[in-house]
Symmetry: C2
Subunit: 322 residues, 2 copies
């Protein structure tokens, strides 16, 4: 516990090595690291968090690279959390084309952290949030959160970021229609990347039409712009960053909406931690007294079923809910 305040101080000063060590210790589940995280959280809340998400092959890493470059030229400090779609079983991070971003590795103003899926029960979002807390405490102006994924991942990134950029590419196949519809709900900015490819204009038009169908009310006043980029040639990056700024100003301009967004984010974060923590705690208790194995055997023999079993366990442990 003596170490924590010293580490906290060094990270608050933006010291890269202290931050990197803390992140490793968090991965390893070192209890003192979690204590440090608690201190850091109370110093955060200043960075603008930008989420980048989209299908595999959409060019998210290249686009992230270009945004880093842009922000650094503006003199802003940048933190990056890149979530790797790797095995939940092997646990290791695979770099892939993320290596391209490593040219920023020698730049003191940029801190890049890759994360792998750690386990089935939702460790990834928790890890990403912890890294964001550290980067935020370090005083980074912008934090870019890059995630591959459709569905669940997008929701999680939407809850983490203030501005969510959804990246599509021309002609991804049949399933893309369904995905686009889902994606619209979480997007603050839509990007058609690889805009030099055939079909880019059609994809652009499709997205615009889908946005037309939505209603924009007082509860949802922001209308996501659709932008075309060719990240590999650095085309459209200025326009994209202008849109990010616009969204940032939009959020800051509406105090009530901004406060509501902050409450929603904190609630989400707290509930996720609570869900994860309660579950782990419970499994530890149920494993220790052998109850879990007994119930599994009963279910296998079809003397019990998982629905009845979980209901009676919950009632037994937590009591009635009202």
């Amino acid at each position: 516990m003596d170490k924590a305040p010293e580490t906290v101080k060094r990270i608050l000063q933006g010291e890269v090595r202290a931050a990197a060590r803390l992140m490793r210790e968090l991965d390893d589940g070192v209890p003192a690291a979690r204590e440090t995280l608690k201190h850091l959280y109370r110093h955060g809340g200043r960075a603008h968090i930008i989420g980048l998400t989209g299908s595999p092959g959409a060019g998210k890493s290249t686009l992230t690279d270009r945004l880093i470059q842009y922000l650094r030229q503006e003199g802003k400090t940048v933190g990056v959390v890149a979530v790797d779609p790797t095995s939940p079983f092997s646990g290791g991070a695979i770099l892939g084309d993320r290596i391209r971003m490593q040219r920023h590795a020698t730049d003191e103003g940029v801190f890049i952290r890759s994360l792998a899926t750690r386990g089935h029960f939702g460790g990834l979002t928790a890890s990403a949030r912890a890294v964001i807390t550290v980067l935020d405490a370090m005083g980074k102006d912008y934090i870019l959160v890059e995630t591959v994924g459709v569905g669940q991942d997008e929701v999680e990134i939407a809850a983490t970021a203030y501005t969510t950029i959804v990246i599509t590419v021309p002609g991804m196949g049949d399933d893309i229609q369904a995905i686009k519809a889902g994606i619209l709900e979480v997007a603050d900015i839509l990007v058609v990347n690889k805009a030099d490819r055939e079909g880019a204009n059609r994809t652009y038009q499709e997205l615009m039409q889908m946005l037309e169908l939505r209603t924009y009310t007082n509860d949802r006043p922001w209308r996501p712009p659709v932008l075309m980029t060719t990240a590999k040639d650095s085309e459209g990056i200025n326009e994209l960053m202008a849109a990010v700024r616009q969204h940032e100003e939009f959020l800051q301009g509406d105090e009530r909406a901004f406060q509501a967004a902050r409450v929603a984010k904190v609630r989400q974060e707290l509930l996720e931690l609570l869900k994860e923590g309660t579950f782990r705690h419970l499994v530890r208790q149920l494993t220790a007294d052998g109850r879990l194995e007994q119930i599994i055997q009963d279910i296998l023999a079809r003397r019990n079923d998982p629905y009845s079993a979980s209901e009676s366990l919950i009632l037994d442990i937590l009591g009635p809910s009202s």
Copy 2:
């Protein structure tokens, strides 16, 4: 409660309308429907569950369609759970090219159910499992579970299915390498679909090389075959089904491994329900007494942090873990 045994009886006889009504009631959270599900679970466990997963645009729906056709020609009954990647906010299901499968809608031996993402806190897996329980109780010989997704979804599907088919296509872009590596871990069978496209042989070779790098021990004796299909022309379907049969026989041939797989599946299912249920129960309790709002306000004011808050709440409610 009087209704339950009658509904159970009708579903066990394979009655489509009773099953469809139950699934709707389960979606709507009707308490009696959950009671019915408990009864049905104890009559299940016979169907062979096949998972189909892969990136958007890989042609999963077409392949599923061809497998249905094949199995029906063999006189087998088939249940299908198609998980739609739709908005967690809008809640609605978007059909997309899944409509193609509807030509089986008039076939009494096929039951197709599409699912949408219902909410952030993991309702999708629970819904899919419930549908599988119903289809299994109906006496379906095969249950096909089709999911779009990388990462989390694949783990969930791997936990649900006995045989997991992972579908790739030639030349999906840069990110695909990382995904393939993750995918290998959950795949029992690998398919290169759209094999008439350029680059199919290269993708096939890459997958074979990746499989070479793995070690096959007593704990993991099954080596996933790699197959080429062109689902739209029904090419490679016989070979794919032969591989499914082989995997089925492999599982049945090793009693110890099969039992271990069944224990793991039941454990997974029970723990998921427990996690979800405990969490809901807890949130209801914390909302009712106003504690949740107070804590959120404290965190926003940085007087508290979500890590400390969740730890003390858990300790308060569940007591020490050992």
